[in-house]
């Protein structure tokens, strides 16, 4: 938590998560999110985020803080941070991507979407369904048809793991 003198120097924002937890961050950190930026420009310093839960918000604030201090010299450090950041479960990724989308943080969005895309690339449809909690809504005939159409294209083995 910043000391009082610092608070005077730097404008602070309060973010409120969907589970009613409040977080104080510097304005310069927060405005990397377009959603927050728009509110700040309208004069808000208290930002309720009813679509972002505390767990995701903590991670995202971490990310914003790290990226707010971006210079040429800590480029490697940020890369390592990003790599660790996305090295998590699919469920966490989905929560993060929804939150990042809601907050309009485009660099984070790109990174998360790229990560999800990379991780579902070689998965079998069954594994993907389990990961995304999707029920197959094709009829068996339709599925067989699609499989047949894809059969030529895919010679390689699918990855059946769920992480």
């Amino acid at each position: 938590m910043a000391s009082t003198t610092e608070t005077k120097q730097k404008k602070m924002l309060i973010l409120k998560s969907a589970d009613n937890d409040e977080f104080e961050i510097e304005e310069s950190v927060g405005v990397q999110s377009e959603t927050i930026k728009n509110l700040v420009e309208d004069g808000f310093t208290f930002v309720p985020l009813p679509n972002v839960y505390t767990k995701a918000l903590i991670k995202i604030i971490d990310y914003l803080k790290k990226h707010a201090n971006k210079t040429d010299s800590n480029d490697e450090e940020i890369k390592t941070f990003d790599k660790d950041f996305v090295n998590t479960t699919f469920d966490d990724l989905f929560e993060l991507v929804s939150a990042a989308n809601y907050l309009h943080i485009s660099c984070l969005m790109n990174m998360l979407c790229q990560t999800i895309a990379d991780r579902i690339k070689d998965k079998s449809p069954e594994a993907v369904r389990k990961i995304f909690h999707i029920n197959c809504d094709y009829t068996p005939e339709e599925e067989a048809k699609i499989r047949k159409a894809n059969a030529q294209a895919f010679e390689g083995q699918f990855d059946e793991s769920l992480d």
Binding site: A18, T35, V47, L49, P50, Y102, K121, A149
Partner: protein, 680 residues
């Protein structure tokens, strides 16, 4: 009606999404009150009707409770409602479905317990982004879905619902299911973003997951470039693709079986086609006629194909084509009339005749067109007055006369590659704008050709590799930066004056004797294994490094070149390894930091007056008898490797370590090293 709603909404989806996300934070508190008031959560009311469309109208009105949405069109509410349905769809089988049913059902019954109220709050807020989740297949799908759901709802009274609740809790899945709803919110927007990182194979694979994914993966954005390279695609399959993605802009059909019908299909059905790549096979004349109807085509590449029946003239007339490549094609005669064409390659094609009518052409590549006659090349190139780059390498019949005509008509020619053209000597060819000239393996190029090259005063790059009759090069070109002379068997004399010369590549010229270079840009000079080299003259004020390894004919006079006053005032590093003709080496330089004389077996006497010299290598100088280091900046020195050392003078103010072990015949030594700490 529903389809219309969906489609209509689809177009507005971005605006609304935006709008919503702007408002949500402000309306956060309002949202919490919604479920209690909102009849949308009473599923039975909706489903019991049996007819899907019927309850929608009243419901649409009811959903207007959702504050801000009231102002929007009614479609929005309908979709919001249908997206709620999707939650069921995703979970409709077995226990999962029951669970979800339950949550939704209970929340409709007002807030009987606080826990459930929270649940429903969560549901509302988390499902709202789902507004975007629908697919075009939805309608059809929904009907099936309702069939499944109706009996469930009828059978499930309040009592059975609470039983089910208990069962779900026992299995500890209740909370998990809720999280699941949150996670499921990969809306079409997000899915689109994720899919934008996938290639076509992965997209096809994604399509087999579910209907929403199929709809998302077949978005036109991902299918602008259809690459069928080396794919065994049939006519029907390709037709189907053309129908599905009529706005594709780039098609690659190289290596597909039977390219002609596929190419015909592509040019006739894809109105926005901008780039087409074809190859391997036969293309009939009709294709080239059909091409004119493909109005926005900008780039056409045909690789390794037979054009027409091989004996007729192929006309390529197109008004917007910018790039045309007919590489390795078998054809007798081509006639190209393309007023916008800028780049044309006929590389390795077999035609003996080519008629060009391309006034804007600036890049022409006719490399390895062996059958193209001298006259054909002349008429083709001179038809392009704006030509800037011409590659005619391996066109063995090109004559000087043709080059003279080209030089006259193409005043802007900047890049010329005439490698492997044995007949050209450049006699009275004046290419004044030329910046790059490549003349590899041109047997006609001799010392006399240099007079013609000297007229290209803009020349920056000159390559004369393998010009076996070239004996001397003497050029004064102010902009020359890069020159190559590799494997010039009779080459003797190099004389270059150029303020900008920065790279000199000379190697394997066994007769090279003299080098004279004046350049203020040269920083590094490497001339290894030039065994005839005897004379070097350098005026290079910025030269830092010189490597003359294995120049076996270099004599003692070379030392003057690299000493003060020799023309290399800032030389830092000098390598003279294995220069076996050196006997007396004397360097007096205030810039030299590193000197290597390794393997100079004939060296007897070494005199260094190089106060900044920090490194010296004398490995293998085993005949060295007299050495004088007065003064040098060396910190350590090992002379134990010079067994015949007789007279030694060292004055090294920085020297800390000196080793003379093994100098058994040392008879005279003066050592002035104030910092010496180790002496052996």
């Amino acid at each position: 009606m529903r389809i219309w709603c969906c489609l209509c909404f689809g177009e507005e989806e971005d605006n609304k999404n935006c709008y919503k996300s702007m408002r949500d934070p402000i309306l956060g508190n309002n949202d919490e009150e919604l479920p209690d008031e909102n009849p949308a959560f009473d599923w039975r009311r909706v489903f019991d009707g049996g007819d899907v469309a019927a309850p929608l109208r009243p419901h649409a009105g009811a959903a207007g409770h959702v504050g801000v949405w009231r102002n929007n069109e009614i479609d929005f509410d309908i979709n919001w409602f249908s997206s709620e349905l999707e939650v069921r769809n995703e979970n409709y089988t077995g226990e999962r479905m029951l669970n979800v049913n339950l949550n939704l059902g209970l929340s409709g019954e007002a807030s009987s317990s606080t826990v459930q109220k929270e649940d429903s709050d969560r549901d509302t807020s988390s499902k709202r982004p789902k507004v975007n989740s629908f697919s075009l297949d939805w309608d059809n799908h929904l009907l099936q879905e309702t069939d499944y759901l109706c009996p469930m709802n009828e059978g499930g009274g309040d009592a059975s619902l609470s039983n089910l609740l208990g069962a779900a809790d026992d299995q500890g899945k209740d909370t998990k299911m809720e999280d699941l709803d949150v996670r499921m919110d990969l809306t079409d927007d997000l899915l689109h973003m994720v899919f934008s990182f996938l290639d076509h194979m992965d997209l096809c694979q994604a399509a087999s997951v579910c209907r929403q994914w199929r709809a998302a993966s077949s978005h036109e954005d991902f299918w602008r470039y259809l690459n069928f390279e080396n794919k065994q695609i049939s006519s029907n399959q390709f037709e189907d693709m053309c129908r599905r993605y009529p706005n594709a802009t780039t098609i690659n059909l190289h290596g597909t079986p039977n390219i002609h019908p596929l190419a015909m299909k592509a040019v006739s059905s894809l109105r926005n086609l901008e780039a087409l790549t074809l190859g391997r096979g036969q293309l009939g004349e009709t294709f080239f006629q059909a091409l004119t109807d493909c109005h926005v085509l900008k780039s056409l590449t045909i690789n390794d194909a037979t054009l027409g029946n091989g004996i007729q003239e192929i006309p390529i007339y197109h008004d917007s084509l910018r790039l045309l490549q007919l590489v390795k094609c078998r054809v007798l005669r081509v006639s190209i009339r393309c007023p916008q064409l800028e780049t044309l390659s006929l590389k390795r094609s077999s035609m003996p005749h080519a008629v060009l009518n391309c006034p804007l052409l600036h890049d022409l590549d006719i490399a390895s067109c062996h059958k193209l006659s001298d006259a054909a090349i002349r008429s083709a190139a001179t038809a392009c007055p704006l030509l800037e780059a011409l590659d005619m390498s391996n066109c063995s019949c090109v004559s000087d006369e043709t080059l003279r005509d080209i030089a006259q008509t193409c005043g802007n020619l900047r890049v010329l590659d005439a490698s492997y053209c044995p007949n050209i000597s450049l006699e009275s060819v004046r290419l004044v704008m030329l910046t790059v000239l490549k003349l590899h393996s041109c047997e006609g190029i001799t010392s006399a050709s240099m007079a013609a090259i000297a007229h290209s005063y803009m020349l920056e790059v000159l390559e004369l590799d393998n010009c076996s009759l070239l004996t001397s090069v003497s050029l004064d070109l102010p902009r020359l930066q890069n020159i190559r002379l590799v494997h010039c068997r009779k080459f003797i004399d190099l004389n270059l004056h150029s303020g900008m010369l920065s790279s000199i590549t000379v190697s394997n010229c066994p007769l090279l004797q003299r080098i004279n270079i004046t350049s203020s840009a040269l920083k590094k000079l490497v001339l290894q294994k030039q065994e005839s080299l005897t004379t070097i003259a350098l005026q290079c004020p910025n030269l830092l490094e010189v490597d003359l390894t294995e120049c076996e004919s270099l004599t003692n006079s070379i030392c003057e070149v690299f000493s003060d006053g020799g023309g290399c005032p800032v030389l830092k590093s000098l390598v003279l390894d294995n220069c076996e003709s050196l006997t007396l080496a004397a360097f007096c330089s205030t810039s030299l930091v590193s000197l290597s004389l390794a393997g100079c077996r004939a060296l007897i006497s070494l005199q260094l007056r190089c106060p900044y010299l920090e490194q010296v290598s004398l490995d293998g100088c085993d005949h060295l008898e007299v050495a004088s280091f007065c003064p040098v900046g060396l910190r350590s020195l090992n002379l134990g490797i010079c067994p015949k050392m007789n007279v030694l003078h060292i004055e090294a103010p920085q020297m800390a370590s000196l080793e003379l072990k093994g100098c058994g015949v040392l008879s005279e030594a003066s050592i002035n090293c104030p910092l010496l700490t180790s002496f052996d």
